[in-house]
Amino acid sequence: MKKNIITTLLLLFTMGVNAQYKISYSVGYGTYKMKDMKDLLEYGFQSMRSSMPKGLAIVDNFPPYITHTIDASIKRNNNEFGLRGSFLTTGGKIAYSDYSGKYIEKLTFTGYRLGTLYRIYTDESKLGKCTLSFFGEVSPAIMFTHLGYKATLDIYEQNIHQEGSDNISTNATGFSIQPMFGGKLDVARNISVSASLGYDFELGSKLSTTDNRYRADWSGFRLNGGVIYSF
């Protein structure tokens, strides 16, 4: 293992003659298709309506949510190669509460996207004292998804707290490819800021606890803004 790591680092350093090393962190906003999950949540909601108070509602239906991405890359000339890791999350929630108690049923999805990155830059130009360049990139990756389920009933006066049995939580693995376009502005010698927009295409991620009938579809638009440190 150690030998492999040393070999990889030597190769990178070899390539790194006249190369620039970068580490970047970006935060973004992602939309998630999650069609199967929306159907599942709706089915669950309709099933319990008759036995629950009239105000019961789906309060969250897999909304767009914050993403976090860390890249480690090497840039040579206008090409940049690297590794990319992203964290994605969204969820669905059915809820009702009143003076007497609260009922919550929640599906929480978290995704760890681990893959590679290739980016190509346009020629640099000046924006004031800063250097501006545009790029296009593509990132194939493996998506590790975790589905968490939680249902709770609280009746305050009787001091009752009940949790529903969890036969839904599970893990799944899928594939993803993410093309993006963006721009980079060098604001200092080693510091740049970037912004990008793209779409994440998701394959697989069937959930075993639904007999593989439903899948976690993370597909959706991605909008990122980040900071890059070069050395």
Partner: protein, 621 residues
Amino acid sequence: MYLSKNLFRNKLLLYSISALLSFPFHSCAYDSSDDNYIDIKKPDGNVNISIDLAGVNPSQTIYLYQYAYFYYTVNSGGKNVIAQKFYLDGKELNTNPQKDGTYLSTGITDNQIHDLKLIMGLQTGTGSLAEYAGYEMYVGELNFKVKFVSNPDVNMNIRESVDENNYYKIEWDKPKEYDVECYKVYNGDYMSDNLIATINNPEQTYYVDKDYVYGYKFYSICAILKNGQQVSLTDRFTARHFNITENNFKTERISTSEMKIKWTNPNPYPCKYVLKYLFGNEIKVIESTNETIIPVDNFPTSSDSYAFYILPINADTTQYQLYPYIIKSFSDNLFNDINYGADQANNLLLGLDFDNLIKYNASDFSIQSTVKHNLTLHTGCKVKASNKGLVAISDLNNYIHIYSDNTLSKEIFFTNTQGNYFYLNNANHLFIEQYTGFDLFNIASGNKICSKRWTSGNTINDINVKTRISANGKYIYALCTEYLPEKHWTELYELQSDNTLRLIQTQINANIKSIEFNPIKDSEAIIQYKDNKFAIVDLSTGSTTTIDGTFQNIDPFTGNLLYKGPEYANSQYNVYVLASDYKTLYMKIPLANINPYADARLYNNNLIFNGYYLNLAKLTK
């Protein structure tokens, strides 16, 4: 060792980096604080509950069966009842409350007062989560005193009698240790709900049933307990009665078309009767009497049925079918004998059956006595008696046995008749008709004292002769027929004292069918002509009376003459009885269409036809 230490260090480094990266990310996982709070109003304090126990006062002790449905409805002011629990003496009962009550199975039979508690939860109607989850409700409590009846069937010592007006009365004893509210009397089982009386005075332990007069009736007496949900104690009783049997009826034909029915009712209850007759087409209501007259078929009838309904005195007679009835039938009197003959000397009618000689009183045909004859008979055998009391019986082998009297104790003569007609006359002679003549025997000596045969001049043909002798043996009529060529004639002889015959009359080409002598007028013969007429001829004077019709016989007891009217041949089956003067019509009797070509006979004014007999003297119309 070095390698494993480094491997451990590398793994630790990798896991540490992964944890450092994923932990801050994981803490950023999706979450939502939107709990969808709905602002609804909390329920107010109390609710009023009342209960309806199906007419039972909840503040008093309630009677229930040990296994019974407890009827109640809760008035909860519009709030739904969502939970109910029953407790008996503090212990919860296993119940399944329904909309109108619940089944209580206590198994308690101690006749003691117990505490029954009902705790119920009512919906608050707020629609809150706690209410949906069954944790929010109004709670009410109701308490009762109850007493359980172990067995609804008790012995109330039911008995029957009659009241001062002879109506049927059923009595019982008041159940001990129970507070009775009223009595209900049912016709049949109380489950059938055929309630006939409610007695609201618990001290009145009897019921007079004016509707019971006869037949099966089953009563259920239910003592309804006070403050019980129709909790009752029941005993059952079947009314007893005396059956009206054959012996309670007496029927007789009082005219050719009517019969009188008399009956006795062994039961004392006031009643009336409805008779349904003529195949159910007619009814007759009879009140305050035990006899009536209804139409009847022509004589003889074997089964004129009628239904005899027994109704309460105040019953609607149009509803007579609802009441008990007896099916009866009227039949004219029937002889079961092979043959019968008049024994004028003893004023009897002799009947002959296969074993006995039956002696009937000639006045009413009641059996006076029977005597065993020890002969072997067939259905064509005859019994005849002379007016001197001798009795002759023909047997299976055509032997005729002559006895000195109807005791049959002394047989004085027998001979073979070859199945031919025979006659015992009053001179103690036995006359036997032969194919071509006759023989006459002296019974006392057993000698043949006279005999005659007719022979034709043509040796090929016989002369067929029908012969009859008068009752005193003086006259002998011969009706002769010769064929090829056909000739008919009659010859009348007088038997001389030396037993020779003297021809006193011959009639050529006579249109005569048969000749009979009057059994009680020695010189009178009845000549039946072929053209449906007959003549009564006095042989001593020659006087003749001619009548249309077919002669049947002259009553050997009264001298009255019976004949079938001329219309008989046209299916109007009337027979007539003329008085002994042959002029006065004594009675016209229409006969039923039963074997109409059978002979009718008259004995002491009793008409006999097809084995049935009818005493004409008793007919009032």
